[in-house]
């Protein structure tokens, strides 16, 4: 199975993409509607393009989406007022929120996970809380956050924080608690001081596990931001989706989905690089 040419997966990906686009194109091709001869042309003017020929408005074709994507990409930073900003600005808002919420979560989760990982007692005592809090949906946190924090901008960041903290906390605690005994013993026989032990032995030993947790967390944070922004609105890529949905512009929604996916992938790739850098083979 391993003996394929290196370009084969890429080619297969492209073929799958082309098939997908082809099926999409054919499925959304506007059927030639016949204009009802009895239809008042004045009346037709009041309707949308497809409704005027006696149809429901349809899904956009791939070409529509590409057009729209180009429109959004070629002028990403326009600012037409509070409620209408370019997709680049929206993404910047989302990324800023994600980095704030995720950064704060990392600042809390990694040191705290370290403590939990070092203490089997704490580990066992806190585990039930973590297990209960971990699976809670971001949308469930949102009303509580809005109600108690009384600020939607902070609430959105809080929700990212609270949803992305758990994988990092769990992975850090697990990584720290499973650091090979012998490495710690080596350090002990060398009379290494606790701080040096933490930073020079435990941290690098647990780093791959911690990074895996961070990758999961960042993925969650990026998932959450879209949902949170759709809910609290104002700015961000989630607001963009909501605003276009409000206009029933499925084309723009698909564009946003594409953009969200690509940025999520880039974020994961970046952390993947860092993970590779801290990983070690034994």
């Amino acid at each position: 199975m391993k003996n394929f040419k290196p370009w084969l997966p890429a080619m297969l990906s492209i073929i799958i993409l082309l098939i997908f686009l082809g099926v999409w194109h054919l499925a959304t091709l506007p059927t030639q509607g016949t204009i009802d001869p009895n239809l008042d042309p004045e009346y037709a003017k009041l309707l949308g393009a497809s409704a005027a020929v006696g149809q429901k408005s349809t899904m956009p074709t791939p070409a529509d989406v590409l057009d729209k994507l180009w429109v959004n990409v070629k002028d990403p930073f326009y600012d037409h007022g509070t409620n209408d900003k370019g997709i680049g600005i929206q993404i910047a808002y989302s990324l800023a929120r994600v980095s704030l919420g995720f950064g704060l979560a990392a600042l809390v989760a990694i040191p705290f996970g370290f403590l939990i990982g070092m203490s089997p007692l704490l580990y066992k005592a806190l585990d039930p809380f973590i297990q209960v809090l971990k699976p809670i949906s971001p949308l469930a946190w949102m009303p509580l956050a809005l109600y108690t924090i009384k600020d939607s901008a902070i609430s959105a960041i809080f929700v990212i924080f609270i949803c992305s903290i758990w994988p990092m906390l769990i992975n850090t605690a697990f990584g720290v608690s499973t650091v090979r005994r012998e490495w710690i013993n080596v350090a002990r026989t060398l009379e290494v001081k606790p701080l040096r032990m933490a930073f020079k032995v435990i941290l690098p030993a647990a780093a791959p596990t911690i990074m895996t947790g961070m990758r999961i967390s960042l993925g969650i944070a990026w998932l959450v931001i879209v949902a949170a922004e759709m809910l609290v609105g104002g700015t961000g890529i989630g607001y963009f989706v909501w605003n276009e949905w409000n206009n029933l512009s499925i084309t723009s929604v698909i564009v946003a989905i594409l953009v969200i996916g690509i940025i999520g992938m880039i974020l994961d790739l970046l952390l993947g690089k860092v993970t590779k850098w801290v990983s070690f083979k034994e």
């Binding site: 090979r180 013993n185 009379e191 032995v201 083979k281 034994e282």
Partner: protein
């Protein structure tokens, strides 16, 4: 320090832990042992007699239920840079290069040294274990034997008073093991290093040890006797078995492991001696074959 003042004094140590159904299990007890400076002592015994625990106690990684251990006249209190350990599984940090693994130990020993000093020191010990050229490799890129060389270099680099080795070559293939044994022999001869080593390998003990400490099987393991290796130095693997003493000593050790190590279990009076002074034997000089 005079010859008779031992660098390590083990006095009546015991390891016990409570049984689940009540009472206590005694792994070993009433253990007394003196090791002189510059001596190479091997500890042989079956699994479960607490050999590794004894080594860990000497290292300061474990504590005992009873008894005392003195090093250089002071009671052991935790780990110390004076007692370096070579672990069975080499225990190298995989995220550090060969040089940095050794450097980590050197920096621990001499925190005030500059990078240049540390580097020079590391390279010296890398050369000592014949690893020049591999300084910047990661442990994953090394063979098992090379890894253990790094472990040895790391332990020696901090110039310890005592070197503690826990079956350092047991995970290696026979060929590599032989090469490394000779290197250890050479290095210890050069540095007059005091060594305490656990092994399963009778040939290894014959080659390396000045004294071989034989332990009975656990539970309630004890030191059965101390065998003095009277073969002259320097020894080499190639010529060792030509020494007339070799088979006497070897047979004595094997005989103990096969037949006598369990004796106290069947006959509590079989070890009828003062545990503070276990019998010292010299089977190599014995005219009657064991």
């Amino acid at each position: 320090m005079n010859e008779l003042d031992p660098i390590i004094k083990i006095q009546g140590i015991a390891q016990r832990y409570p049984k689940r159904e009540g009472g206590t299990t005694t792994v070993f007890e009433n253990l007394h042992l003196n090791i002189q400076k510059g001596e190479f002592v091997c500890l042989i015994g079956h699994s479960g007699c607490g050999k590794t625990t004894i080594l860990n106690v000497l290292a300061g990684l474990d504590s005992t239920s009873e008894g005392y251990v003195f090093v250089d006249g002071r009671e052991i209190n935790g780990t110390s840079l004076d007692r370096a350990v070579i672990f069975q599984s080499h225990a190298l940090m995989p995220w550090l290069s060969v040089k940095d693994n050794i450097g980590f130990a050197v920096k621990s020993r001499w925190p005030d040294w500059t990078k240049v000093q540390i580097e020079a020191h590391c390279l010296k010990y890398i050369q000592l274990v014949n690893l020049s050229g591999a300084e910047n490799k990661r442990p994953a890129e090394l063979s098992g034997g090379m890894k253990q060389r790094v472990g040895i270099a790391r332990a020696l680099s901090i110039a310890p008073k005592i070197l503690l080795m826990d079956e350092p070559f047991s995970a290696l293939d026979a060929l590599t093991r032989g090469v490394l044994q000779e290197e250890v022999l050479r290095i210890c001869a050069e540095t007059k290093q005091t060594v305490f080593m656990i092994t399963h390998d009778v040939d290894e003990a014959c080659l390396l040890a000045d004294k071989v400490v034989l332990m009975t099987s656990g539970p309630q393991a004890r030191i059965a006797e101390i065998v003095e290796n009277t073969m002259p130095k320097p020894r080499t693997r190639a010529t060792l078995h030509h020494d007339p003493q070799f088979y006497k000593i070897r047979n004595h050790l094997v005989d103990f492991l096969v037949n006598r190590s369990k004796m106290h279990l069947t006959d509590p009076n079989a070890l009828d001696f003062d545990p503070k002074y276990p019998p010292v034997v010299q089977p190599g000089l014995d005219n009657i074959a064991a």
